[in-house]
């Protein structure tokens, strides 16, 4: 279903690696992939298509090249630029199709949004059926983890007025949406003798495809997620369900610890020794944190000292994407690459 949408992930001024784009969509992340995701301004899309098939992806890119929408820079570089025709096709696509509004401001991994969405669907069905005292129905087939989560949640929140509490929770959010959007979103839900409506039945733009519908739904759930995150203390059943689905942390506990230690003045070498981590891993932790955190939340000053910055400034100019590490390298010390990359991240965030 991904097909033409992929054109929107390329640029007419910045050559982009298809491997990076694939890795981002599939959430197959390395520090390098994430760095380029930052450079391409595509980190919002991390994990957007966890089941994306490599073969289909490659085929689609090849097709873009064949249609002269994309052009490969050099041979076998796997870096692609949009041609004029490609740029026009991208704009035409964007004009007709759904543009995400809320995911951009989301601070949570998309997998959490998706988990919440799945859990909500099933929980909503369970409560709807219970409102009719019906036990004989086809439960939505969500993944096993979500199924178990909803079971646990239901045992926990089950009480006499669960239905009105649930409706209150939903109502609070639907009121935030434009009325037509709220009507359409509610119409997608499954419940007692309510199979839910699909794309074509919702009165959404007729040019929309399955991918627009997917993005539209996911985007609204990202917004809902934002809304619920402001109600952390609330004991409402819906808030509890949302909390249970927030399994993926923005930064893994290991990375968080590394950042904290560095901020407390512990050196990378000491961290490496104390926690039995390779020094390379510690550096990767820091680069990952720098990529993911807002600029003010990462201690750039600790590494990008005045001398370091002065040296790099002197030796590098032009577009960051064109910089080559070999131009600044002075020794075999891997710390140099760390500083080079961190400086690139810093400048990207500064803009």
């Amino acid at each position: 279903m991904v097909n033409e949408f992929l054109i929107t992930l390329f640029s007419s001024v910045q050559a982009r690696r298809k491997r990076v784009i694939f890795g981002l969509l599939k959430r197959r992340l390395t520090v390098s992939t994430e760095y380029w995701g930052l450079r391409y301004n595509l980190l919002t899309y991390v994990g957007l298509f966890p089941h994306l098939d490599q073969h289909i992806f490659d085929q689609q890119i090849a097709q873009f090249v064949e249609q002269a929408l994309l052009i490969e820079i050099g041979t076998d570089t796997n870096q692609f630029l949009l041609t004029d025709k490609g740029q026009a096709a991208k704009q035409a696509y964007q004009a007709k199709h759904y543009q995400i509004q809320y995911m951009i401001i989301a601070t949570q991994p998309l997998s959490n949004v998706r988990d919440f969405q799945q859990a909500f669907w099933l929980a909503n069905q369970v409560i709807s059926e219970s409102a009719y005292q019906n036990k004989r129905y086809y439960p939505l087939q969500v993944d096993l983890q979500t199924k178990n989560l909803v079971k646990r949640w239901y045992r926990k929140v089950y009480q006499n007025d669960i239905i009105s509490e649930w409706v209150t929770g939903i109502t609070e959010f639907l009121k935030q949406l434009p009325p037509i959007t709220a009507n359409q979103l509610a119409a997608t839900w499954v419940g007692h003798q309510t199979p839910g409506l699909n794309l074509e039945q919702l009165g959404l733009p007729t040019v929309w495809t399955a991918i627009d519908f997917y993005l539209w739904e996911l985007d609204l759930f990202a917004y809902w997620q934002q809304f619920l995150s402001q109600k952390q203390d609330n004991k409402q059943a819906l808030v509890t369900l949302w909390q249970l689905t927030q399994c993926q942390t923005f930064l893994s506990p290991g990375i968080q610890t590394t950042v904290q230690q560095v901020c407390q003045g512990v050196s990378m070498t000491t961290i490496s020794q104390q926690r039995h981590l390779k020094i390379g891993t510690v550096r990767e932790h820091l680069l990952t944190a720098a990529i993911r955190l807002p600029k003010q939340n990462f201690p750039y000053d600790l590494f990008l000292t005045r001398d370091v910055v002065a040296y790099l400034q002197n030796h590098l100019d032009g577009s960051i994407d064109e910089w080559r590490f070999t131009d600044v390298r002075t020794s075999d010390d891997p710390l140099e690459f760390f500083l080079f990359r961190l400086y690139e991240i810093y400048l990207t965030k500064k803009r």
Partner: protein, 480 residues
Amino acid sequence: MTQINLKQVLQKQFGFENFKTGQEEILTALMAQQSTLAVLPTGGGKTLIYQMMGALRPGLVVIVTPLLSLMQDQVARLNYLGEKQVVALNSNLTFQEKQSILNNLARYHFIFVSPETLNQEAVKIALQRTMINLMVIDEAHTMVTWGQDFRPDYLALPQIHIQLNEPQLLLLTATATPNMMQEIVASFNPTAKNWFIYQQPVDRPNIFLHNEQLANEAIKKQRLKTLVQTTQGPGIVYFTSRKLATSMAEWLSDETGLNVVAYHAGMDAISRYRVQQQFMQGDIDVITATSAFGMGIDKEDVRFVIHYHLSNDLANYLQEIGRAGRDGKQSVAILLYVVGDESIQFNLIDQSIPSESTVKAYLDRDEKTQITEEQIKLLTEYRHQGLSTTSIVELFANRKKLRQNKLQHMIDYAQAKTQLRNSISQYFGNDTKHLSQDTESVGVTAWQPEQLNLARQEINGHITKVSEWSQQLKKLFNLQ
């Protein structure tokens, strides 16, 4: 266990008054420890058989099933029937989920598993440690159809059966020719004799058979519209491509004012769920589908099944038209054919079976340009069995011939002017003596739906409307 007991269990635990045809014989054989191959029509109550075995005996019922989407439907159906300890083990699970299931196998009564997952070492080891009540292979005909083309793990099933200490087998299918049945049974340990084979005749007297040959694609398209407009629904129209199923749904909706919705395996799980449930609930007049639709659908009152394209063989055709008239009432299967339609199917055969040069390039020179991952797996499996390149090439060549041959029967059926019923029953090795001769027709003018009481009564102009969300919540949660 005596027959009376079986019936008591049926009434007490399952709430049915009587068995469907064949169920009791099959259960009796199973209780007598016989391995069983059962050819039962779609909707013939296959689920009840293994569900009941789960109630009659302790241990885990392992159900090998080919399609992920089907697996989900089957789990949902058992849930619906009140079974809670049901799980699907497949490639959609995370590593942790899979581990957790394997570590707690004893907690479950039913486990659905794909041949690919079943063939994994960890899964086999966990199952070896578990008491298996019954090993069911659903859609068993796929062992001899898909196995040899693109699902090599199907070929390993007999071997796996031995590795699992040969639990009792129940092979289920809706369509198998005598040759296929023989081939399936023979593939299992030949010492496992004592097979019980149950076969119900394939003929479904309440499904009227009607074929039309049309001059070209444009005429066929218009004819489809007329048929959909004038034939009593609900109905299903089968296409070979997802794209066409989708675009035709839109076109038919616009042209006829009916609620026509597409269904195919490319849709995500919840979209498929919505369509299935809308169809079950009677909100949808016509489904345009690929063959992915139906294996798990239990709708009793489907009145017509139209094939816009040929199925790849008569076994699949029969399976697909078998969705019609499960309630036993008058229904119809219509096959639309334009000379040359078969080229799609011939191409599919060519694409799915690797050519001689592809096989040689891979096996002798390790060239992977022309070959798919599944095909590589298949070739590796054959190599593993000690086959030479020449014999593998020959095997594929035979395979291709066989499939082309099966397709030819389908084409012959589509071009037949008479004897539709007879030819199907003959193909499946059934007796044709008592078949009705006047429940079939061929040609556009011969189609008289009113004579069958299948003329569409009215078109409601079904437009789905999105109501106010507050109204929707009232309905969802039973609020006043």
